[in-house]
Chain length 192, copies 2
């Protein structure tokens, strides 16, 4: 949180929310604590965000895509579509081995809120669509028989690896890459 201080109150609240909701949970993070960590008064918070729910949605809007971007290969990297997909799973398996890993923020938000119409649930769905679209694009380029189905299956693996890690309390080395590779073979994604 060392970089929060120089930012304005809105930015400080978004960053504190992004971190606390991910590390400690959405319900577990009260407005008091959020404002304390952000160094913003409750009055100011409610001037910037109508409700805590709105802050939950906007923090995920900001930091959900950051999680995805951190696992994507460089667009300029000389990789095949298959390699691009496996690169993402290598990065995700590596992240899952980090003691500060608490899963996918989008899935966690949906799991905790249990309300598919919550503003943050809509953000989670939209963010996740970005991941599915990445998979579908690569699957199409790689000549998969049914790119959208394969993309959904790969997203199942992505989310399942996070769930396994959370339950085991430790990374599950190489599980994402191996499972994804088997599905790429089955889906007809060329190695070239």
């Amino acid at each position: 949180m060392t970089t929060i201080e120089k930012a304005g109150p809105r930015e400080r609240l978004l960053r504190a929310a992004g971190e606390l909701f991910y590390r400690e949970g959405i319900t577990a993070t009260g407005v008091e604590r959020l404002c304390q960590v952000a160094g913003v008064s409750k009055r100011s918070m409610y001037q910037l965000f109508e409700t805590k729910d709105e802050l939950v949605a906007q923090a995920l809007e900001r930091f959900g895509p950051v999680t995805l971007a951190a696992h994507l290969p460089d667009e300029a990297a000389p990789l095949t579509p298959r390699e691009r997909i496996l690169y993402l799973f290598e990065r995700w398996d590596a992240s899952a081995g980090d003691p500060e890993f608490y899963g996918c923020p989008c899935v966690n938000t949906a799991t905790e809120l249990k309300d598919a119409t919550h503003p943050a649930a809509l953000v989670a769905r939209r963010n996740k669509r970005e991941l599915i679209d990445f998979f579908a694009r690569q699957a199409t380029l790689g000549g998969a028989r049914d790119p959208e189905t394969l993309a959904q299956q790969l997203t199942v693996v992505f989310d399942g690896v996070a769930a396994r890690t959370l339950v085991e309390g430790a990374g599950v080395a190489g599980l994402g890459v191996a499972t994804a590779a088997a599905l790429l073979d089955a889906g007809g994604l060329r190695a070239g």
Copy 2:
């Protein structure tokens, strides 16, 4: 909750906890509400369970295995190992289409608690091991090349389907069965 009334206070608390934690969340369910739904005083609750954490663990201990059992094929059914595994995924895909589906209680508990040493996290890990063992047993019987790895991959699919459903806010028809079938093929599980 209509069947709760005839049970004793301990049983009423376990049932109310199992339902509320699953449908509304662990942190979101305060002790007040829990006692109100169970029809038990807070004083009685703390005589029966030292802490709320202890109740969280014992409720999962009781109802986690019920979730698994509801999706397993009858032991006497004339099914091959491959068919047993796919039966479970057919049931799980069907459950995911239920509007009252909120995912896997074990994964939800680990996701929300974010503490791998919490007594309920230990229960979640143990319960999930039952599922992995079911997969590994069938994979061995079916002649899979690496039954434990295949079992881990199938658990990834199981958990991933739940996560996809929660994010989409709707069941993802047939996704579990199709993904599992592709992994069974890849893992060398005979059709016979």
